[in-house]
Subunit: 266 residues, 4 copies
């Protein structure tokens, strides 16, 4: 006998229940969309400070211009204008390890460093720096990048990073992941030999991990945030389309090289 | 020389601009995620009353249980657990004409009825009823359903409908689409011979159209709302997976009928 | 008690059955992939002539260079290189009404013209021309384009069209849809005032309809064909990536226009 | 100045070129769809024996009944019947690491074992067994499964495995990956303590790797094969829909557990 438990929602002839509450009577008009998104993924209502950090993260990650993801969404709408859901889905599909993955990778890097630490958490900056130096050194020894460090455009500092620390600080929510991430910012120059900014995607991962979200879900919030940004691009594409021009310009820049019979090129 | 105009976002070494504002200094911590989504699609900041209606719509549409869309998202995560974006995209792809289309269809039906009306808009209920009767009669004469009427579960009334009218009323935002939709609710029994409830997807379409969104974009807000609901399902699937069980139970209920050589079955 | 009938496949501990045949013993090594695709969708094995036409259609539709669809697939791989399925899906999502829809639209236009014709089918070219003139005239009167006519690049004739007529002719499979489509080519100049080529997507729709496929499924074969083309693009992107360069060049051509507070631009 | 090299296709007013050949004159009617797919991904035309193995792999992987992927495609069509491309894309998105990944994982496991082997390849079964024992032992020591071993249904042997060995043998194409995979089948019982069958997804990965495809692309062929199977499911869903019933039956089996205020369940 099939039996699939869920705690998200249910409905009967007279009511729609979401998270144990009546949608019409207790949620609509009482709860913001951001608050509902937090609640849906954790099954608990966020405290006001938690919500402030969470909404700031969603705002920080909503858009970053003509990314591969936004361009793909616009091109897909060009080919299939009848299917807004297809254009949105195509845009989200580009939100993978290389493009939106930093949020998740940084949360995981910090969470694993904290999990591998035995004993009580550090009580001061010096203690966090020791832990951060150990984590950065181990990551480098494994031949891996330290997630959350560096940005192709904001070489002198990503402005979202101090903004989110300020908001989390006002909410009293600078937890161990954000503490450790700040320490990574202090100690990495001596270890890797140059100074890189703490980027916005990384600090968002740290803040979400401090809010208690599991690391496997962090990419999901970047995707939710990006859904709003992609809708902005698609709304603009409906008003002033550029997808056709991007296609034409790209196609015109293609140079054809006939392959040889053995498959070799050039 | 390619040139793609946009008013969404841009960035340089020191700042990230969204909608003409500095993300870090002017938006993070100041603007809710719902507010940003409204702003991204219209390029203007909503007034508080507009935002209240908009967020209520997103809350109303966020989830409706184990829909085809939610089941598809869970099954996709079962097959490709490394790709949260793929599971989310698969869920959104089911948000098409039959499942999430009512919001768009209802907004379009109302907008077209209003557009075809010449002269000033009605000043009282009796006037709206005349317009509604004309639109419902024409739709029926064309052999089409009236969008926004009826619900498979909430046969006595969808509780989201009065809730959204109340919220829009408090904000002073019951515009012509919502007026006309209410009139459809009053006049349809005499025309089609039975009384059907005004459903939640339909009233959301009317409210979004009153907020000034183009009808081609209405499905997009249902998709944005549903993204939060799907994330809730995927978070639950990570905690207590049921996708494998749904697969197994569905597969066990399959009955194989060997086709004949001409392709006929049974 | 759930019960889902199917005639595609089933399996038990010792065998895998597809279309009523043992996959390992009767299909692998005996049936080409194209043949299997025909069989899977019709439940009957194609005759050799049918297969020749079908495979020619798939070859004709497999690729058309850096289309919006191919560019979107490459950009998606750039952002999510771990998910080949996501890049492929993003590419297919652009295969909608505007881009791959011609095959389906043309098949439907021809099928509806044939369905609306009473009495026996024409016995000679003159008879087909009468039917075609009637269909083209009605389509124009309804303010619609005639699907399958015209091509942005191949203004003097799409080379795939005569090739497919030749292959269908050799197989004895020029049925009513292909006959009517050829007549459309003959009669349209006098009706619409200029001469347009019969395009390859259109002739493929006519040929597939003559093979007995339902029109609702025609887009599916264009998508199957395009899957091979997209795999070619993704294989090339893995060898010599250009997605990052397309992103960079597109992003550099963006011109930011700050919106005014009321949402107006410019 | 943008410049994107490609060797797949190009076109001008009079011709369409694919892989350096004229589509209409040299490919349509001359090349099967399977052959074109091989050619598009390698840029070289396969020899007849290579094509026989390749098409057998595509046939072997095309369908496996009501998989999570096939169910998701059917449910997506139920919600968005206007978008065949969306239903197909949703189905492909479930073709990830857990479901279609075995083909890729097995190819990679074998390729890495061969790459780590110095000196000439083994000349006899005993030599292959030594290499296989070393690879299986190392995989187990790393706490990982050996890809390609075991099947939830075909516990006594997957019938596709001997069929593909036979076809590859007739083509003279049992290369090092297939040799090593066969040796894995011989040596693993002594190492892991029980006898598992060599499964069909695994042998397909070995055969594709012997054909020279890069391992990063192997999943792509499983996806291409599955596209035909999914089209079969969608064609059947158009004829005799079961998606609505799967939704209803699944939804009826859901048991709602109201969450507690702290997010705990049960």
């Amino acid at each position: 006998m099939p039996d699939y438990p869920t705690s998200i929602g249910t409905s009967d002839a007279d009511s729609i229940t979401l998270l144990g509450h009546d949608v019409a009577g207790e949620l609509m008009g009482q709860v913001s969309f951001g608050e509902l998104a937090f609640w849906l993924t954790t099954l608990r209502r966020p405290a006001p400070g938690e919500l402030a950090v969470f909404e700031a993260v969603l705002v920080a990650l909503a858009d970053h211009g003509f990314t591969p993801s936004a361009i793909a969404a616009r091109l897909t709408l060009t080919g299939a204008p009848e299917s807004l859901q297809g254009a949105l889905a195509a845009g989200l599909l580009g939100g993978g390890s290389r493009y939106l993955g930093v949020t998740e990778d940084c949360g995981r890097f910090l969470a694993e460093a904290l999990a591998s630490h035995s004993g009580p958490l550090p009580a001061d900056e010096a203690g966090w720096d020791v832990l951060a130096a150990s984590a950065v050194t181990a990551q480098r020894a494994a031949g891996k990048f330290v997630p959350g460090l560096g940005h192709p455009i904001h070489k002198n500092g990503d402005p979202r990073t101090p903004a989110l620390y300020r908001i989390a600080g006002e909410a009293g929510l600078v937890g161990p992941h954000l503490e450790l991430f700040a320490a990574v910012g202090r100690v990495h120059p001596a270890i890797i030999g140059r100074t890189l900014p703490l980027n916005g995607a990384g600090v968002c991962g740290a803040a979400l991990a401090d809010l208690g979200f599991p690391v496997d879900l962090l990419r999901g919030f970047a995707l939710l945030a990006r859904t709003a940004g992609l809708l902005g691009h698609l709304a603009e594409e409906l008003r002033t389309p550029v997808g056709q021009a991007i296609y034409r310009d790209t196609d015109e820049a293609v140079r054809y090289i006939s392959p040889r019979p053995d498959g070799a090129v050039g």
